[in-house]
Symmetry: C2
Subunit: 373 residues, 2 copies
């Protein structure tokens, strides 16, 4: 089957993907025009723009999220990067300590150009190992006092894994005993509730501050919220100004987040069930491995034999022929000869049966094995 596997350019692949009409990842494609028209409808005739973080539109939505998470208050921010740096800075100033603890794959360590250090002068004690969940045993190895402990639920960089409930409680207890504030990176918290089978507020109650995101599972445009006590959020609003994170208006993000939340909040158990089903189907294909073996949230990492180049070429060919985009990209892994893709289940998967997904991955494997390395 290795006939037409020319190595396309990035542009050629983008053109092929642009023609796709079904997607394994996310919520599917919507044009900007459709997105903006939907927002106009969401605004209706009554909504008025927020002004520098004030006004019913943004304040009511903040209160809605605070209530959902059982917290006193919340502040809407343009990004999670801003939300989490602010949270850690506040905990550090309160503790008169610049050291925070988090997993080596924490977003702050990998994707924020070390803003926590270069902007805030904070330092990190990396806790646990890169390819597995943080555990309470890792915490017992921490010898220095921490101002805050950040726990990500679920841990994205290891395929969306979640600690078991007892383990999580033990980690929190370790921090509490040492008067260490506990902050949740809940970028994908919405997607983790089905696994615990608990209310969001019950999970959030373990934490002093919680950050959630609105453009991943929720399907908004962008934006995040930081939640906690009244005084914590009041302080966060000061840092919001310092960060340049309080534009005169955030209404497009707020409207999109609110609409997405209301539509999708009940769908996360469905995403989780489909993720489990797909993981089982893919694991059955020789050579393919899935992490975690049984998805705990809506996502997984799929390990495939083949180079990034060969897989990318084969994936584009399949996209061209079937108009199904399995993934936008692959990345290299630690395992020789293996690459991986991240699979995030959302609305788009409704258009694909698990059988068809399995069949497309078998095609992918067939094509890659014939590809000249």
């Amino acid at each position: 089957m290795a006939t037409s596997l020319g190595a396309q350019t990035a542009q050629e692949r983008a053109a092929i993907f642009a023609e796709c009409n079904r997607f394994l990842n996310g919520h599917g494609r919507k044009s900007l025009q459709e997105t903006l028209e939907a927002l106009a409808e969401e605004a209706g005739t009554d909504e008025v723009s927020d002004i520098y973080g004030t006004g019913a539109l943004i304040e009511d939505f903040e209160q809605e999220i605070a209530s959902l998470l059982g917290k006193e208050a919340a502040v809407f921010l343009p990004t999670g990067t801003m939300a989490q740096q602010i949270a850690l800075r506040i905990w550090c100033e309160r503790a008169h300590c610049t050291l925070v603890g988090f997993h080596p794959t924490c977003h702050l360590q990998l994707h924020e150009q070390m803003g926590y250090e270069r902007l805030h002068g904070l330092h990190a004690r990396l806790i646990g190992e890169q390819h597995r969940l943080l555990t309470v045993d890792d915490l017992h190895l921490v010898a220095e006092p921490l101002a805050a402990l950040l726990i990500e639920l679920p841990q994205r960089e290891i395929g969306g894994q979640l600690p078991e409930w007892d383990e999580l409680q033990a980690e929190i207890a370790w921090a509490r005993e040492r008067h260490i504030a506990v902050h949740m990176d809940g970028a994908r918290l919405w997607e983790s509730a089905p696994y615990y089978g608990r209310e969001y507020a019950e999970v959030a109650a373990l934490f002093d501050s919680v950050y959630v995101s609105f453009y991943k599972g929720i399907g908004g445009i962008s934006g995040a919220m930081l939640t906690g006590t009244q005084d914590f959020i009041a302080q966060a609003r000061v840092w919001q100004v310092r960060h340049g994170g309080r534009p005169i208006a955030l209404f497009p993000y707020v409207l999109a987040a609110r609409a997405g939340l209301h539509v999708r909040i009940t769908r996360f158990p469905r995403y989780h069930r489909r993720a489990v089903e797909i993981a089982e189907a893919l694991s059955a294909i020789p050579g393919i491995m899935v992490k975690p073996r049984l998805p705990q949230a809506h996502m997984m990492h799929v390990y495939l034999p083949g180079s990034v180049a060969a897989l990318s070429a084969a994936n584009a060919e399949i996209a061209r022929e079937s108009r199904v985009q399995l993934t936008r990209s692959f990345s290299a892994t630690e395992l020789p000869g293996y690459s991986k893709l991240e699979l995030t289940v959302g609305d788009a998967v409704e258009a694909l049966s698990t059988e068809e997904i399995g069949e497309l991955f078998r095609q992918l494997m067939d094509r890659v094995h014939g590809y000249p390395e």
Copy 2:
């Protein structure tokens, strides 16, 4: 005429203003729905969302602004607060010096919760006096080495005043001789070009980095751009990530900024002419003073005899009767018995003749003089 001057609550005033259909300030009122429908139209069927600062929509607009200002490159940022802190941090790191110079009414000093100090560890030498333009004589009093000098064109907090062209050149020369980088706070640069009668690029050429805004004169939703050399902007993009200022999508802001720029870029001379005309009419009313006497840009500060409370009550009464909003608010001044309002000329003024504006201000004065203090 002091019959119905009850002191309304803030809520009552907001309700009165909500019924207004003409406005002395800005570009008039548009519902969120109308705004979003206009953006959907601007997007058309072709535009695709930016992704983390990439994609034709945002990159082409960045290049358009860079070209307009005669700079190599530009980066779109959520706020001016972010743009300017980033600019100064870069100049400081390059100069191995943490001291920057700016006017006491600089936005960084007044409206950013001292982010430049608390986030970036920078320090400021305040140059010149609060109520007048910064001058080259002030610069000669600076004894410490500066990494950067920030000049705001026009200076908002003193009514939108601009230094004369020769004076501005002398200030730049002072900095150049000392190898001090010069940064422009051009939040209202668009509005200042008519006074100099020069291309934007000619004004911008005096500066190493220039920040411009898109929601003031341009009438976008929010957003700013920082412009400079390729390597400067590449460095700014790193700080953008650290600030949490690179959301996955900025398209609503970009579309609104682009549409606003294209519609309004040619209107600034008209705003300026109207500002001058209105200033002359208001100055002719006994008791009223305008700063600057002859507006240099699109704005002015109007000084009125009367307390903030009395003026606010009278202003709301006029708004109720005429459905014209002269201002949203007044503020206290240094002059005993005088308050002020900021007047910013935009599209909305087209619905008001200068004669009518004068008449409304005369009514305001009559009412205030009858108001029980």
